[in-house]
């Protein structure tokens, strides 16, 4: 899970969706990627079309216009709220109720880009993003859209052969979550670090025993007694 602002939406089915909002830096980087991409497309086309003389320049002006104004809208409307830059950064635009971005929504937020870019380098947009509790720039506010992280998580976890023992203390929901999170991240820590962390829970035990104890309780939580 990312350390970031989360925003909760209730679906008509009564499930709570939790969206993780993308901050200004991620968004600026996505914008940078898109800008580079657009400049490359424009440069390549400029070279090709310059062979066509004045007609080519006319076409180039039209393409430049389309790249400036419609590149984000077309990608966002057709590719699930993601321009190539946003896709690379793993973020997407959605409506504030979590539903997919409509063409109109995308057009509003992108037409108003000029106001966000005022006076230079997206200064106004940057400031409003920081002030807004949901990281919205002016265009997002008018279109009622959010930029969120698209997370990919896998639940296939490795099997471990720890013995399963029930906890011998009254287990709170917080404890359970902490234990399971510790278990899921066990491959990210060295054995020594795990022992060190485990000892925080059982200061009276040796590091090895403390870790064993935690693991056996976790196994019990996951699969029950054998």
């Amino acid at each position: 899970m990312l350390i970031d602002e989360r925003f909760e939406v209730e679906t008509p089915e009564g499930a709570m969706l939790s969206l993780s909002l993308a901050g200004p830096v991620t968004r600026a980087m996505a914008y940078g990627i898109d800008l580079t991409l657009r400049l490359i497309i424009f440069a390549v086309l400029a070279i090709v079309l310059s062979l066509l003389g004045k007609m080519g320049i006319g076409l180039l002006l039209i393409i430049g216009f389309a790249l400036e104004w419609f590149y984000p809208t077309l990608f966002e409307a057709l590719r699930h709220g993601q321009t190539p830059g946003k896709k690379a950064m793993g973020i997407a635009v959605v409506h504030a109720n979590g539903s997919p971005l409509s063409f109109n929504g995308s057009l509003i937020r992108n037409l108003l880009r000029t106001a966000d870019a005022f006076p230079l380098f997206y200064l106004l947009g940057f400031v409003t993003t920081l002030i807004s509790p949901r990281y919205q720039r002016l265009g997002d506010m008018a279109a009622n859209t959010l930029v969120v992280h698209i997370e990919k998580t896998e639940t296939t976890r490795k099997q471990h052969n720890d013995p399963a023992n029930p906890p011998d203390w009254p287990l709170s929901a917080q404890d359970q979550l902490a234990l399971l999170a510790f278990h899921e991240r066990r491959d990210q820590f060295s054995e020594a670090r795990q022992q060190e962390l485990a000892q925080l829970a059982f200061p009276e035990l040796s590091p090895q025993l403390a870790l064993q104890r935690l693991r056996s309780v976790t196994r019990y939580l996951l699969e029950g007694a054998q």
Binding site: M55, W69, P100, A115, Q176, L177, L180, E223
Partner: protein, 330 residues
């Protein structure tokens, strides 16, 4: 139920939902590979239920996160709204656009007045004191303009001479990039408390007025007016409408009335958007006329009558287009 059994039991459902989602999210899927989607909605409901269970029973965060993301993806597909495009475009031009303009007539009127007043003022000033033109245009640009709109009988390059098809395409591209860009920026500028929109109207108005006044002083007015009259109808109208739409946004922030400022802004943007689609269409039309008709060398009477017809048709369309008979005031 322990988490491991829970996962084991519902894993097939999640896998099948993921496959269905992959298919729904792809732009195009080969017919042979298509899965039946008739269970999608039922599966999605079950998934929502399982997410709620996983949270209630405090299964691991990772599992909760996985289910949450799956619900999110399915929710996106289920609530996607995609009516047929062609019908909507037809209806938009038949009634949506003129209706949207009439609903916001106050803002368009203010925008038009600020534009027309600044034209008149600049025009009158330049007529009275010809040197006033230099306050809005610099000398180099002015001599270029004078050359462009030289009286027909004098020697030298006027706009009609030596233009070929290639130049028309070049200018078409230029008008699109320039004019539509200005209109979009005017709209966005309105968000800055309306100041941006009003500024564009005043600036362009006085520019246009000063040039017109100056060309009358120097005798180039016939070349100028025969050139601008036809495409001026959609072009100037579109700029005024973009200004009006922008003012509507700005006013929503200044005086939101019974709404919160955020809600007022959302409503204003939703109301103004049809106008902006129309502005885009009008400016495409204007660029087309400006590049391919306006530079053609016809008799002044023909140019003026075609131009007058453009203005009349456009305003008949905006005032009466899509009105329902007996529906009362629009």
């Amino acid at each position: 139920m322990k988490q491991a059994r829970f996962e084991q039991q519902y894993r097939p459902l999640w896998d099948s939902l993921e496959q269905q989602l992959d298919q729904l999210e792809a732009l195009r899927v080969a017919r042979k590979k298509r899965l039946p989607l008739d269970r999608f909605v039922a599966d999605y409901r079950q998934l929502c239920h399982q997410l709620a269970l996983a949270r209630e029973r405090t299964y691991s965060l990772e599992l909760q996160q996985y289910l949450n993301n799956l619900v999110l993806r399915a929710h996106r597909q289920l609530y996607r709204y995609n009516p047929p495009l062609a019908d909507r475009i037809g209806e938009f031009f038949a009634s949506g656009f003129p209706g949207a303009v009439r609903r916001q007539w106050k803002w368009h009127l203010i925008s038009a007045l600020s534009f027309i007043l600044s034209i008149t003022l600049a025009w009158a000033l330049v007529q009275q004191q010809p040197e006033m033109v230099y306050t809005v245009v610099d000398e180099a640009m002015l001599s270029e303009l004078e050359l462009m709109y030289q009286p027909e009988d004098s020697a030298g390059g006027d706009i009609h001479a030596g233009r070929e098809g290639e130049d028309d395409v070049l200018m078409f591209g230029y008008y699109i990039k320039n004019n539509i860009g200005i209109a979009f920026r005017t709209f966005a500028g309105g968000l800055l408390l309306g100041v941006g929109a009003i500024f564009v109207m005043l600036f362009n108005g006085s520019f246009f007025g000063a040039i017109a006044g100056h060309l009358i002083n120097t005798g180039g007015h016939e070349a100028f007016f025969t050139f601008v009259i036809a495409h001026g109808a959609p072009e100037l109208t579109a700029i005024v409408l973009a200004g009006g739409a922008g003012l509507r946004l700005g006013w929503a922030i200044i005086a939101p009335g019974q709404w919160s400022r955020l809600d007022a802004l959302r409503l204003a943007a939703r109301d103004a958007l049809p106008t902006m689609y129309g502005v885009f269409a009008l400016l495409l039309l204007a660029a087309f006329i400006e590049a391919f008709w306006s530079p053609r060398d016809f008799d002044a009477t023909i140019k003026y009558s075609v131009g007058a017809a453009c203005w009349a048709l456009l305003y008949l369309y905006l005032f009466f287009g899509g009105r329902q008979r007996g529906a009362g005031k629009g």
